[in-house]
Symmetry: D2
Subunit: 313 residues, 4 copies
């Protein structure tokens, strides 16, 4: 029987030691420690790792960490929303997002052309820069291919970016597909629409991308899921997994609770009723802000995997 241990600080304590200690601390620290163990297991078992996240995480500095994880081989399939695509491109173009406050004066921000996401801000200029770049990129892609699935479109964009901290760039480089089931839900939708106005035969094929998604893995392969936040990125990931026999490993990290019946708050337990994750899977649901919880759990896993020679740190 595992028991609670008194947590202690010592000078120079590193992340691995602290998250190790969380295994005996209590409440969400224990769940976080368990999630970290599952990250290690899914990699060691050679599972295909699905990483699903919402766009606010790309607004945040997790964006560079996600790119690093792709590079390290810790993410084989990405599922996200349109905002993630846009903001990763903006950052790859050198745009900086600013740190503001949850209690900003939003009317003043509006006057200054600053768009708030929690305690962060994206300036209108970043959207304009993105628009300029998109026009050129769409023209180039169209010249190669007139009917294109979403993940192919995103890969083409990724190849045109030149930034090692870019999710799109690293994914394209590593042949990691990025699925985005609602590609038009953002400024990018507007740019696609404008382009299609002048190029009626330009088709973004979402139905074709569904088959890309369900055939990106198989029933036989071991599969692991890391679902950060909720929304359709989480839902689409579990859907793909379910259609391939369910996940063997799953970690959900979210601030939402199951009590309203939302997908955002759905637990790994609930997922078993659907066959989204296997009955005997290793699964953990961690409640908390992903910007804190995920780096802790994943960085400890990276330390363990490096020590075992499984990934190169």
């Amino acid at each position: 029987m595992k028991t609670v241990k008194d947590l202690k600080w010592h000078k120079g304590i590193d992340v691995e030691e602290l998250v190790d200690a969380f295994g005996g601390t209590g409440f969400q620290s224990i769940e976080l420690n368990g999630a970290s163990d599952i990250f290690v297991k899914m990699k060691k078992s050679n599972a295909k790792i699905f990483l699903a996240f919402t766009s606010n995480m790309v607004t945040s500095g997790l964006r560079g960490f996600f790119a690093q994880l792709i590079n390290l081989g810790m993410a084989d399939i990405i599922i996200t929303t349109a905002g993630s695509i846009e903001e990763d491109i903006m950052k790859a173009l050198g745009e900086k997002f600013e740190i503001a406050s949850f209690f900003s004066d939003d009317v003043k921000l509006h006057e200054r052309g600053e768009n708030r996401i929690g305690n962060l801000v994206i300036r209108n200029e970043s959207y304009m820069r993105f628009e300029d770049k998109m026009k050129g990129m769409l023209q180039q892609i169209y010249e190669k291919q007139k009917r294109i699935s979403v993940s192919e479109l995103i890969k083409e964009i990724g190849l045109m970016l030149d930034d090692n901290d870019s999710i799109l760039h690293q994914a394209a480089r590593k042949n990691v597909p990025i699925f985005c089931p609602a590609i038009t839900d953002g400024a990018i939708g507007f740019h696609l629409f404008m382009f299609q106005q002048d190029h009626k035969d330009f088709i973004v094929d979402v139905v074709q991308d569904f088959s890309n998604a369900i055939f990106c893995t198989t029933h036989d392969e071991k599969k692991g899921l890391i679902a950060l936040g909720g929304s359709i990125s989480k839902h689409h990931a579990v859907l793909i997994g379910m259609m391939n026999g369910g996940f063997d490993y799953a970690v959900y990290m979210t601030t939402a609770h199951q009590t309203s019946g939302s997908m955002s708050g759905a637990t790994t337990q609930e997922a078993k009723s659907w066959g989204k994750i296997k009955d005997d899977s290793d699964a953990a649901t961690v409640i908390g802000d992903v910007t804190v919880m995920f780096p802790l759990a994943m960085m400890r896993a990276l330390e363990k995997l490096t020590a075992q020679g499984i990934i190169k740190g």
Copy 2:
């Protein structure tokens, strides 16, 4: 200055009286009362009303209430996710969803072919029934139109259903467009994919639907938003509004908080920085489970609007 009033029960108290009293009670009851006032104002000002919701609300009994609201003229544009489309169709076919518990044994449910969403359950049979129906409907739609936008597709389906409690049916009947920016994110995605396998020229045009969405209203029109829950339904609605100069009225109802920077928890205040809602708009954010909060706020509004002869009860 408004002051707190002692709340009292009397025999036979009706919903309108109770929600009136909430205006002097405190905390979320006051916000709910304010949301109800905004519902009244948006209708009285002839605003175009956007109703955005997530699929778990269609799993719940709110589905019939949404259909009723469309019928009463309280929703001019619908934005939702793929699950809503599927489940509305299942229910229109006579399928019943069961009431279970948040603490169900999910492995047992899985064995019985019961898929849990919070304290509700959808049986595998309902998905099979839906599959059978979809095949026939897609064939009929394809014969009319090979390249179709999402909202047109949904309207065609709505016209084929025969259920007054169906959102799709009432919307089709009333010419209320239903936008679904991630139409493939569900079982329906699989059926569309299967159909496209045999009909390569069948195209679901999401980019075309983006233009349908942004041209469904104008800068000049007054616009009101009712965003229930989070996810891309909420995001897509605010995006359309922003591209048309922002909403004049807005009510967000959600269990999510702004502290994680997610769209689900984004407040009407934050929306002002983007121009998603106007600086001087009437806006309220109500925190709580939509299955309770929304009927209360909206039913009181319906009573007021009926009494004033604006809608017919």
Copy 3:
């Protein structure tokens, strides 16, 4: 098997009908409907009803509703915090609490002598009025009794108040004890301290009150618990129940979740491990703001109980 029913509005719908319909709606509306049923059962079985609440509910208009419930025989034992005692007295003296906003400018409020609790405000004047009254009341109580338990002290105060909407007054009138395990945690603590400075033999005996609490019911009696919010009011109520064999009926209403291991978020399920509520008890945990959830669930119960002649409406 119970199934989900489409929710519908009709003109003049009353609270009882709506909460009846919630039984087939889904998510928290179902839990709320279940809580309402338990309120009916606990009264019909003649259970001794414990009502525990935090002071913010007395800041709100629920204060008058609690007083009404005591008068109707729906609360036999009250457990609360010091703020409730203070604010009930202020209101009994005619003080009005104001309605502000969650986004008030707190520095300006401070300058104006307005103290914010969520979207409500208590002015400094109300605290001064309370102070004046307390001095006189403590003197009178001291003259009768120098060593006094907390619940006796509160009863003496209740008898001196003249307001039918006062919790303390109705409780005193009806011989309903009010337990307040942290009586000094508020302005009242300061007034008791000032009084004791001049009357060293004045003793507020909290240990004696513990025995009053545990002997206010028995193992043999049926016992029902209504715990609104968290904190020590909830904890003290379950402690008393546990020491008397556990509750037969229990409803928890709270916005807190069990995931942090706090008492506020502890569920009725967890309570069974302690014997705080019986293994086979009728129990429900409802997640949501008490100012909305509680009136709905309780008013429906009052309608049912009145119809059955069990209480007089």
Copy 4:
């Protein structure tokens, strides 16, 4: 203007580096970084540091960390609830708390005499061991002093314990007062009552302890507040601070939100309207599970303070 930075892992990353990086990550990671800065500032300014926490944190492994903080001079005044006192004593007697699951079978736990707090469990034996010890300790204390304030009582107990990881022991050793405004709200209440049955002149003087609390600091002293979780421990701390002119530094860490008007969710912003914290104070509200958030923020502060020679690591 501060901007978002891409977060990166490197082999051997330590806690200080990670929490430094959080300052540019986003959402709660930024707030956590800010809280850590405030911890450094309050110590460097020689502020009197109030540490308030709820009992579930003593159930967890934070208990040893709190004891360490007292020893390091990072906590000058403690405010907590009765459960903390009990459980610190149990652990000092060698009792081990077990790690279970949030989804335990609570009826089975009850049969086994295991009492659940989130994903932790306290066995009945630990309560029995505590009872035996309390009897002896109360007798010894009574022989010294018949009328005793709560903080004096707790100090006497602390002196009798022999465990460096004990909060009570370290506090007694370091002359750090522990205030517990609801001392009877727990098993300890029962033991005090039993003892008083046989010793009618034994008085636990809570009113006297209120004066100990308000005179433990002054208007002139700089004051810092660390309020972990909600409940009366948080409230009592802010009350004491307010009566001494308000805090200069304040960090709230909680999973609760301000939207229900509860003390648990009250923000540092709201506290300014009361003068609980000063208008120009350095303040941060961090949302998240304290078992993760607090060690991160505090351990980074300890590294900074050690490097500057202000505390000895």
